[in-house]
Each structure stands twice: as structure tokens, then as C-alpha cells.
Amino acid sequence: MSSTSGGQVSIRDLSKSFSISGRSLAVLRTLNLDIRSGECLVIVGASGSGKTTLLRILAGLEAADSGGVAIDGKPVHGVGAERAVIFQEPRLLPWLTVLGNVAFGLEVRGVPKAEAEERARFYIALVGLAEFSDAFPRQLSGGMAQRVGIARALTVQPEILLLDEPLGALDAMTKIGMQEELARIWSEENVTMVMVTHDLEEAIYLADRVLILPKEKGGAARLIDIDLPRPRERSESRFVRYREELLREFGLR
């Protein structure tokens, strides 16, 4: 539906450290990266590698210590209308129906209720929940609730969709279905997608490029191009080879 050509992200000399019980712990060290408009970039890394921190800085929820992020040439300070975030938890408002939740993002931006709901209905249908528009979150399964979260993010028609382990809490079967759905949405919506995951197969299934964040000090971030036709086939030999390559990166093979 949205056909924007923006959504280009450049990350320059980005550093961030946290102080944990008086000790400063660097999680991101002078990271440089360009994310192309319309690309799907998946960030993987061991826990503590700063992948979620990077995503939160891109979202504008946290500030970098030094360096910075620019979107389409404009420096990022705080949250912005061209970005939407999908969290690991659906984060639905329990007192709103599915329709109310999906329209929420537009409504807080001042879009009139009727218009917001009309657009919300389109995206509710897109994630296959048209029959559940009037349901309350407590009536939904985990997968359905996350679809609602995805629809809410799409409804504001962002140029950049930031996903923080969006499928991490789902069971294996639901997860595979949702990965296919994300791949479909990404190809239909023409949106730049930046996603954090700890699931390597998920990364290969969705990514144009995989960014591997180093855990140890002095390690360098690495980018791997996933040069596979879409829709991707998990059992295909090249898919499996990419999986082995990523496992080697983590010292697991």
C-alpha cells in the first residue's frame, strides 16, 4: 500500500556502553553500517552483543554515547513517524479491541477515528484477522496477538519497520507460519525492515543481509549477503550452507 522510496539508514561510529555496578561495559563499539532503502537486514549476535540496544537506538528509545544514526540524511533524535517498532511482546492495550489497538497508532497521531479505523481494517485483513476485529486481546492466542501488533505497526505506514525478536515468544509451528507472513508483508509493503533475532534459520529465511554483532572486545561486526531467491526453501542445499556458515561464526561448527 505504501510506496515510499525513503527508509535509508546510515549508522556512523556508533558507540554505546552501559555501566553495570560501577563498571563500564561497551556493547556497541564504533559501528558503521548503511541500510539500503527497502532492504531486509537481520541482526544476530550472542546475548549481550548489543543487538537489542542497536535496535532501540534506531527506534529512538535510547541515545548513543557517541556517533549517530541518520535516516534519509536526517539525524535521528528520539522516535519518529517514519519508524514503527514491533516488540517481542505484542504490547496490546487490553481495554481496546483488535480494531482499537490497530487504529491506536494512527489515532495518537491525530488521524480522525473513522479514517484510522478504515486503514486499520485493511491491515487487520492483511494479517488474516478480519473476523477478530471486535475481539479483546485476552481472547487471542500468542500468534494472533503478535499479528495484531504487526498490523498496528503497518497501519502507520512506516518507511522503516524495526522488529525486536518479534517471533521469539511463539511456538515453533506458529513461528514458521509467521516468518512466511513477515516475508510476504515485507515484499508487499516495500518497507525497510530491520529485525533482531536469535534464530539463525529465521535470519536466513528473511534477510537480504545478516549483520553479526561480535560479543568479545575488539571483534568486528560482520555482514553476510544472503543471495537466495524468494520465497526461500529451508531444506535447499544453499540455505543449509548459509546456516552452517552462520553457525561457524558463532563457533558452533
Binding site: 522516535v79 513517524a81 504490547r91 481495554w95 489515532e107 495518537v108 479483546f136
Partner: protein, 282 residues
């Protein structure tokens, strides 16, 4: 619930039995009857035992008069109008105090829950006030405000304020910060976040406070009317006892219980309407 399950299992167990319309009706009627009994059976048994033991002379009927005498006294008081004036004045006292508590506690609680510094500064004194029995303070209020309406309404107000205030603060503070962050990501401004996330999120907890406060209001109402009042339900309870009009005393107590039940039920149905999204009422 369990009884229903057993019945269903029994009817499932005999699929070949041809059930006529008549037995269906019987079964439906029986089921409703069982549901009624499982809910009100103990209450009915309690009243029946009271009635029988009082009229049979097992207990002193002068102290515990039979139910029918209490009902007769209640009817006489209501139809004759003698108790109506008491109900009116009591409702006015409790209602004024409760309304004032709502007007003060909810806005103040919403504010205190939002602003950490205010809450930190006020919490110790609130804890001290809350732990000080309002009844112990009643003599103080009488000294300050006199033995009239003002001290009565104020002591009820004082006691109802704290449950509501503390539950409102708690409700605001327990709103999931992840939801607040979500709203922020969509660009919601402070006031929008408050109106669309904090306030609805605090409503269930505010209702817990409202129900506690309503109960407290009636409790303090009676206590305050037992000292220096010449009208009101609490006064009637004491007065009837002094004059040994025991059925009338119980009639006043029944009215009190009734008011409590009605207030609670009104709040529960209001909560059901406002919180359709959560089935966690009670």
C-alpha cells in the same frame, strides 16, 4: 458448576434414551434450581435455623426475635415512614463523604502516581494517617468541628479517602511500562499517554478502592451515628436497643446490610460496564 458437570456426564452416558420435551423442561428447571440452591442454600438454611430456634424457644426470643417479627418491624418502619427519615439522613452523610473522597482521592491519586517526587514526599505521612484509626480521631474531629453534621461527614470522608487514594496511586504505578513505551513509539504526547494508557489501565484498581471505600463509609457512618446523633440508621440501632425494641434494632441492621449490598452491587455493575475487556471482576 460441579453439579452441572455431573449432570451433563450422566445425560451423555445414555445417548440412546429418548428424551421427551417434558423431561427436557424438568431437567432445565432442575438445573436452575440446583444453581439457585448452590448459591443461596446456606443463606436460606441460616435464616430457617434462626426462625425455628427462635420461635421454638431454643434461644431467647427477646434477644434474637424470629425472622417474621423482624420483617414485620422492618415493614412497619418503612411503610409507616419512621425509618425512611433515618435512611435519608444516613445516605446523605455517607453519600456526601463518599463523593468528597472520590473528588479528592482520584485526581490526587492519579497525580501522585504519575509524579514520583510528589509520591515520595507524601507517602510517609499518608502511611501514618492511614494506620491511625479514623475512630480514634473522631473525638479530635468533634473537638474541631463540633458534634453536628460536619464532624460526622468528615470522619467518614477521612476513613474513605485512604483506601481510594492508595488504590488509585497503585493503579497508576502498576501500568505496564512496556505499554507506555509502545505509546511513546507511536508518538503519543504525555497527555495522550495519560488519557489512553494510564487512566484506563488504572481503572480496575480504582474500582477496588471504590468498593473498599464504600464499605468503609457505611462502617464509619454507623460508628459516627452512635455518638451524638438523634437520627440515622446507626442511631436507630442504638436507640432501639436502649428501648428494648429488639425487632426494630434488627430491622435497622438489615437495612444497613441492604445498603452495603446495593452499594457494592452498583459498583460491580459499573465496573463490568467500564471494564468489559477484563473478565476479572471479583
Amino acid at each position: 458448576m460441579t453439579l452441572q458437570h455431573i449432570e451433563q456426564a450422566a445425560s451423555l452416558g445414555t445417548p440412546d434414551s429418548t428424551t421427551s420435551l417434558g423431561t427436557d423442561f424438568l431437567r432445565l428447571g432442575g438445573r436452575a434450581g440446583i444453581r439457585f440452591l448452590s448459591r443461596y442454600g446456606v443463606l436460606i438454611a441460616f435464616l430457617a435455623i434462626w426462625q425455628v430456634s427462635s420461635s421454638a424457644g431454643w434461644v431467647n426470643a427477646a434477644v434474637l426475635p424470629p425472622i417474621d417479627m423482624i420483617v414485620a418491624a422492618l415493614w412497619k418502619g418503612l411503610a409507616g415512614g419512621t425509618l425512611l427519615g433515618d435512611i435519608a439522613i444516613s445516605l446523605q452523610r455517607a453519600g456526601l463523604a463518599f463523593a468528597a473522597a472520590v473528588l479528592v482521592a482520584i485526581p490526587l491519586g492519579l497525580f501522585m502516581g504519575q509524579v514520583r517526587a510528589v509520591e515520595t514526599a507524601l507517602d510517609p505521612i499518608l502511611q501514618v494517617f492511614r494506620q491511625t484509626s479514623a475512630l480514634a480521631l473522631y473525638p479530635v474531629f468533634i473537638l474541631l468541628l463540633g458534634l453536628g453534621e460536619a464532624s460526622k461527614v468528615f470522619v467518614i470522608f477521612w476513613a474513605t479517602l485512604f483506601p481510594l487514594l492508595l488504590n488509585t496511586i497503585g493503579g497508576v504505578k502498576q501500568v505496564d511500562p512496556k505499554l507506555l513505551e509502545m505509546a511513546r513509539v507511536y508518538g503519543a504526547r504525555q497527555l495522550t499517554v495519560f488519557r489512553r494508557v494510564v487512566l484506563p489501565g488504572a481503572v480496575p484498581s480504582i474500582f477496588v478502592g471504590l468498593r473498599l471505600s464504600a464499605t468503609t463509609a457505611l462502617l464509619l457512618l454507623i460508628a459516627s451515628e452512635m455518638i451524638g446523633a438523634n437520627k440515622g440508621i446507626g442511631f436507630q440501632v442504638m436507640n432501639a436497643q436502649y428501648n428494648f425494641q429488639i425487632p426494630l434494632m434488627f430491622a435497622a441492621i438489615v437495612i444497613l446490610a441492604g445498603l452495603g449490598l446495593i452499594a457494592n452491587q452498583a459498583l460491580v455493575s459499573l465496573q463490568r460496564r467500564l471494564c468489559r475487556w477484563s473478565n476479572a471482576v471479583d
